[in-house]
Amino acid sequence: MIELQDLIAPTAFNPMIYWVLALLGVPMISFISNFFTKGKAPVWAALLLLINTLISVYLAFNYWYGEPISIKGTWFSVGDTTFGYSLYLDRLALIMTVLVNGISFLVHVFSVEYMRTDPRKARYFSYLGLFTFSMLGIILFHNLLVMFMFWELVGLSSFLLIGFWFEKKSASLAANKAFIINRIGDVGLLSGLMILFAQFGTFDLEALKALMVFSEIEDGNWVTHFTNNGQQVMNSLDGRWLSAAGIALFCGAVGKSAQFPLQVWLPDAMEGPTPVSALIHAATMVAAGVFLLARVFVLLDAQALEVVAAVGAATAFMAAFAALSQFDIKKVLAYSTISQLGYMVMAMGVGAYSAGLFHLITHAFFKGGLFLTAGIIIHQLHQLESDKIKFNSQDLRVMGGLSKYMPITFLCFLICALALAGLPGFSGFLSKDAILLNATAWAGQKGGGYYIIPVLGYITVLFTAIYIFRLVFLVFTREFRLPKIVGESGIASKLKEGNWLLIAPAIILAILSVSIVFGANVKAENTWFMQFFSVPIYLVPEAYAAFSLVDLTEETIKGLHSWVAIVSIGLAAIGLIVSYFLYRPISKKALVFQDAPEPRGPLGRLSLNHWYQDDLYEKVIAKFIVLQSKSIAWFDEKVIDGIVDGFAKIHVVFAHIVRWFDKYIIDGFVHLTVFASGRVGQATRSIQSGNVQTYILSALVMLVLLLLWLVF
């Protein structure tokens, strides 16, 4: 029988804790110190993040091949229940710290230029520090409760950064929306935590995994067997709670990783500064949901995983469809992010653990790169604005032909776009290919209706290629449309390439989006990433466990691989061609794009409004809630208040009686007590006459009296 206390016992002191504290401490220092640094904040914060990046790289190189390092300690105890904290440094944690720190550092550098004229930039960098700190907390801690706390901190920093320009009404509304919708997901996550705690009595992930192995399904009941402090524990729940726990944990990921039906906050979150969108709402924070899924992966049962896969596929498809017709460059990228996150979640759902994580990493680089280059464009266009000339610097309609003015930006954008579309030679191809291959193999095993999931994945590939090349063509080719719109032709010559602080981070991210970074290979399973991250085996009771991809034979994979690759490359190529014919420099659509109206057809409107999901929430759910609360208010006012008022009247009458009693009987008693203790005080104090002879005499008399009483 397995003993819970052994599993969560504090480990011996391990000097690694200093490194972990450094990793968490440096961004924390950035957070605190930047309240005081004022003008020096950008350089100081960037320097701190550089230090942290170096630390994480050093750790990754040193501990990559070793066993995972686990540090546990006691946080506090309530009665017999001990709440611990545990740190866990495995390859996943190592590579995530490098990723988060690295991209955070690049975004810091980028922001030095981007936020140069902002009066509140010290606060901005401070918030970035808070975000990095909390994100690293999620990564390094291996205890669900502690992770949940950092999870909330990440939500807080996201809220602060989305609403950074809070004078703008839309920004503060977007921040509220993100925060509130994330809370819905967090309620789910919290319920998942509670189910697991009720069953196992610990939040420690390692312990949960070990205990899960010893739980089993007996007569449809989910039963755990372990000992706690030597006492045998047997917790039994209905078997469906096991699925419920997995789905509840997934709810947290649905909120944070913007999955259907809670994805509506992410497009609005683009109200924040663009580097923030790159760091938080594209590369790192939104991936936290996927990271959480990876951490609890082995605790999910078949049903929960099916839900995960379905939600992921639906999200990927819906968002890619919505991205087709947006006019705001950041909105396109936002929907694209949702869609790609859908891929990762889908991958987790079909059991493609390593493919999902691989996509997390590659996506972080190319989407970060796309956002940063978009940021350069927005920033440089913004420079053209003046008191007389006003325009929306994020609108695709004012752009066009920018490759002439900003060649390096164009090149970076193009590389990242190719990676996103999943064309061979770029990182996105490898990871997407791996996901699609696994999803197809999974559907092949399950058969029938399950094929809808990979099919949605394939359609998304097509849409992805269309919308991203639509961006490439509309932004960079043909001619600069702004002069025509504002009616001032001289303005075009003022547009310049961004300076090196803006360009350098984008270049680095573009380089990291080339597939050679992950190995000179066209097959995903031959990349170093896939070699190092193998799919773990499910630990849930066998009756409930999902089919594991590990059980697939190599032949099945090989057989599928070539045609999966062909279909996905083919679809991407078709998307590229469709996009070319629609938006190529001389196409009709491109020529008059500055006057392009909003799409009219039912499909177009569906896409532009993102399936009317926001309207649905606003007009149906929100309205329903308002109506309901109105009726409750009526009930409360008329019925409950009426009863309460009636009671109150009776009470008033009663109170008068009580008052009389209180005034004369109770108060009388209290006054008597006060009077009595006052008298006692007067008496004991009265010895203090000030005459020293009296003092001595009274002391001695009391001594003698005590003695007499004692002896007789």
Binding site: S677, G678, V680, G681, Q682, T684, R685, I687, Q688, G690, V692, Y695, I696, S698, A699, L700, M702, L703, L706, L707, L710, V711
Partner: protein
């Protein structure tokens, strides 16, 4: 050991034992050296002595603290030194460390008011006498010989008399004289009792087996008279009933940092003597628990009820310290392993909260000119941070959460309850009941200070007060342990549990 002291014949051999034992007294030696250095410095320099005096005193005390901590391992088993004059054990070391901390806190307090700072540094006398007081208290905490006990008590007493009256002022001289006379009588009673004890047993060494066996053969009446008189002297230093009458006058007159020291070091030292002394008394013949229980009840009641009427914060704290002497005796009554931990915990928390309270009162004294409660009206709103700190300290002194004062009271009363359940002596239950009732009474007068600070309108509404940043810093540092040790009481308890309590 005692056998040895009788058989040692050659003078040389005795001297060599003494010269070996002296090294165990390293903390006391450093205190003596500090005193000598301070005196020498005072003679050599004429002007601007403040920096020198304070740095000498603080570094001397800090070094002593260091040495005390260092000797902790040496005391893992109890050693009897100087042919049974003193014992060297961990219990004594804990108290000595507390005394030195108290002295350091006193010096910090002294720097916070300009007038006190110049008083303390005009000549080294105040500092030298304070260090001498600490030296006396340290010796008290390790004495097991009646003569040694008497001498160390007198060292503390004489230092205290002078400290009270050293500064100019009629009130101070009067209080000092009362103190001397009262203390003289108490000493006389005590040494008379001791002479009886010597007559009964023929030995001065209370840890000697002959002491116990000698006492066992005496009739109850003479034994009771002798013991009551002897313990009366200890109770005088403890400031408990019935020898408490001196304290309000002295507390009101003496400078606030000195008062804070008075309310701590002699009390705790007397407590250690009591711990050692009652351990050697045959319980069958003299029921010391009953006796100390009555003293504890009386001290708590007299202290708390008298405090209700006070209009001066320092005088109020004097009565509060009488009441606390009663609470400290509760720990002694719950005489067991857990009772001793509770006692030491209470003593440590009492040190912190007492000093914090006096420091904050000193701040208000600086603003209003005196420690009268009515001068504090509305100050809490003008100095919000200091006001909030005061509330925390007062809540701690009452013994309510979320402060360590609550843990201290909880530990001490729960160990008393345990003791009552094991031994079933009715007096323990009475102490328990009176202790809890007194805590309620204490609430009224302790919260009187926050009441004056926040709810009474101040006389001159519009004069804003700027509080010195360093004042805020020290205030916070003094108060912070009370909050931390509430949430993390196990830090201190864990350390205290590791102490070897063999007497």
């Amino acid at each position: 050991m005692n056998e040895q002291s009788n058989t040692v014949s050659g003078l040389g051999e005795q001297l060599s034992t003494l010269s070996q034992d002296i090294w165990y007294l390293a903390p006391e030696l450093t205190l003596v050296i500090t005193i000598l250095l301070l005196l020498g410095f005072d003679l050599l320099f004429k002007n601007n002595k403040n920096l020198g005096i304070f740095s000498l005193a603080i570094s001397g005390l800090a070094f002593t603290f260091f040495v005390t901590i260092q000797s902790f391992d040496l005391a893992s088993s109890v050693l009897s030194l100087f042919n049974g004059l003193v014992v060297f054990d961990q219990l004594g070391l804990v108290f000595r460390a507390l005394f030195i901390l108290a002295a350091l806190m006193m010096l910090i307090m002294a720097t916070r008011t300009d007038k006190l700072f110049s008083d303390f540094s005009r000549s080294s006398e105040l500092v030298v006498l304070s260090v001498a007081l600490i030296l006396g208290a340290s010796l008290m905490s390790m004495s097991v010989n009646l003569v040694m006990i008497y001498i160390s008590i007198e060292l503390v007493s004489i230092s205290s008399y002078i400290l009270t009256g050293l500064l100019n002022g009629k009130q101070k001289s009067e209080a000092s004289l009362k103190y001397v006379l009262f203390g003289g009588v108490a000493s006389a009673v005590m040494i008379y009792g001791m002479s009886w004890l010597y007559g009964f047993t023929g030995t001065l060494d209370i840890s000697d087996g002959a002491f116990y066996s000698g006492l066992s053969e005496v009739a109850t009446l003479p034994l009771s008279i002798a013991l009551v008189m002897t313990i009366g002297g200890f109770v005088f230093k403890l400031g408990a009933f019935p020898f408490h009458i001196w304290s309000p006058d002295v507390y009101q007159a003496a400078p606030t940092p000195i008062v804070a020291l008075f309310s701590l070091a002699p009390k705790l030292a007397a407590l250690t003597i009591l711990i050692r002394f009652v351990n050697e008394i045959p319980v069958e013949l003299f029921d010391w628990k009953l006796w100390l229980g009555i003293i504890a009840i009386a001290s708590m009641t007299v202290g708390n009820f008298s405090a209700l009427w006070q209009k001066n914060a320092k005088r109020m704290m004097a009565y509060s310290s009488i009441a606390h002497a009663g609470f400290l005796l509760v720990g002694l009554l719950a005489y067991s392993e857990s009772g001793n931990v509770a006692l030491l915990f209470y003593a440590s928390i009492y040190l912190v909260m007492n000093f914090a309270a006096f420091l904050l009162i000193q701040y208000f004294e600086k603003q209003g000119g005196s420690a009268e409660l009515k001068k504090m009206r509305g100050l809490g709103l003008k100095m919000p941070w200091i006001g909030v700190l005061t509330v925390v300290v007062m809540v701690a002194l009452t013994g309510l959460p979320p402060t360590a004062g609550f843990n201290a009271k909880l530990f001490i009363f729960s160990s008393l309850w345990e003791a009552w359940q094991i031994e079933g002596q009715p007096v323990l239950l009475w102490v328990f009941i009176f202790g809890l009732l007194n805590t309620v009474v204490a609430l009224f007068y302790y919260l009187k200070i926050p009441y004056y600070l926040f709810f009474k309108k101040s006389e001159n509404e519009n004069s804003p007060i700027t509080v010195n940043k360093i004042d805020l810093f020290w205030g916070t540092i003094f108060v912070l342990p009370l909050l931390i040790l509430f949430f993390k009481a196990d830090w201190l308890v864990g350390f205290l549990n590791s102490i070897n309590f063999v007497l």
